[in-house]
Symmetry: C2
Subunit: 296 residues, 2 copies
């Protein structure tokens, strides 16, 4: 089996496992599947859940696309050669209960000419800061990285903090996690080693996130906290539409709009000049977003 | 009085007149004012109305800023020289009732070295298409343009259609209006003529928009139409965060975030793959957004 095929079957198996686990904890929400094909080559499997009990909106998408390198990406893709191949799974979950954090994850494999690389990671966006949740989420991913190379977690944790930042607000999108891109074989890491680690990282999503959702999903909340969540979801939209390279990549390559924008929250508020009260739980969260912390 | 001062007092008088007219038709909503200063030079007067009876959210802002040309704008500003001056009024109104269209307007005057120019316009974003409203809005602005130069309206109407377009959706943001930039004196138009026309254009905002708001604000609507409005407001956010040069200008020049984002709607939905039913009023609106029409 080629690396392309192994990567593709890895992301499709991840999609199946993650959707099954999410439907299981949601209880009522079911994913709706849409298959699509890309005019330039390849296609994808979009799965969206709407108005579940736990998840107000969630998308877990896979794609495997190939063909000539789109001109808008000529300078952005590593390697040389006229054609590319990319496969990956991408997910965003927007829970209803503000005590349950929003989460994003993505695991991808890309080839151009003789050059191939892995990218991915998962990051957490809480509306109420539970330090034990942030620690658990980071620790689960750190363990997988450490088993492969102790240098990985510190590097990819920092990369995540730098990348998922609303620079115009001076705030991180959330409490981070790991983010990596263009991870290629070198003297210390064979392609086989990297594949094993990348696959394990993808498989760590369920144990990293689901226990957090399970322990927060039954907590009660009032209208004020719900409103705070809707306002903070506005920051999520700002990041995705202003800063996110994945969104820009999708729009530049004439990607499928509905699949790209499944990441946007179902309901969002923008009010003028909302400020957290000093000393409140909301202000406590903002402190951590302004100055990212070590969690593992 | 210098042109700077005349332009500035024009935009400030417009702000006063527009806020008074809006409070008058709203009945309960009042604008809240915040003054701010820009570290590089100048400042502004932000006025925001929240949770009014007619207007769910509205902002009518003025600014007069000056100083060294920010490096991010070096190539984007006409003229030569190290310093610039800009003054303008900018407004966005998000009505509660989906029968009342959202509206945006902006009137600005900019100088750099010996070069100075006017920009501005107003465009309408309905959630339900009333052709007579679109015609009234265009006609009012066309009359002001025609009195000055019959070539202006056709040119600025087309510019508006081209500019306020969600290219990634293949849709206009709304039914348009007029949009113009870098309007400078030439053999046919003295600076004085242009100032007179620009001021009249700004003064046409109230008669162009308010009669529409007044005749639609008491129409009844159901939850389904409200939901359609919230979804369409998502398109407004997409335009402002992905395509709008004014937003990009503000973010690049370290503008005041809260003033820039006052344009974002108060409450917004993104649902997966919402499609208008063929033959419905919603589909009728989309047809006009996909292929802009002549209205005056």
């Amino acid at each position: 089996m080629t690396m392309r095929d192994r990567a593709r079957s890895t992301v499709e198996a991840l999609q199946d496992a993650i959707c099954a686990a999410l439907e299981n904890i949601d209880g009522t929400g079911k994913f709706r599947e849409e298959l699509w094909t890309r005019p330039g080559g390849g296609g994808g499997r979009t799965r969206v859940l709407s108005e579940g009990s736990v998840f107000e909106k969630g998308g877990v998408n896979t794609a495997a696309v190939h063909g000539p390198v789109p001109s808008a990406l000529e300078g952005e893709l590593l390697g040389e050669g006229p054609d590319f191949y990319a496969t990956g799974v991408s997910l965003v979950l927007h829970p209803r209960n503000p005590h349950v954090p929003t989460v994003h994850a993505n695991y991808r494999y890309i080839e151009r000419g003789d050059t191939c690389w892995f990218g991915g990671g998962a990051d957490l966006t809480p509306y109420v800061l539970y330090e034990e949740d942030a620690r658990h989420f980071h620790k689960t991913q750190k363990d997988v990285c450490d088993a492969h190379d102790p240098a990985f977690y510190p590097r990819f944790k920092q990369w995540c903090d730098r990348y998922f930042r609303n620079h115009h607000r001076g705030e991180a999108r959330g409490v981070g996690g790991i983010f990596f891109d263009t991870v290629r074989p070198d003297e210390q890491h064979s392609m086989e080693d990297l594949f094993t680690w990348w696959k394990a990282t993808g498989q760590s999503f369920i144990p990293a996130y689901l226990p957090i959702a399970e322990r927060r999903m039954s907590e009660s909340y009032d209208d004020r906290l719900r409103e705070w969540q809707l306002q903070r979801r506005g920051r999520y939209v700002e990041f995705n539409l202003i800063h996110d390279r994945g969104t820009a990549f999708g729009l530049k390559t004439d990607g499928r709009i509905e699949s790209i924008f499944m990441s946007l929250p179902p309901l969002v508020r923008w009010d003028y000049s909302v400020k957290a009260e000093p000393g409140s739980p909301e202000a406590n969260l903002i402190d951590v977003l302004v100055s990212p912390r070590e969690w593992a």
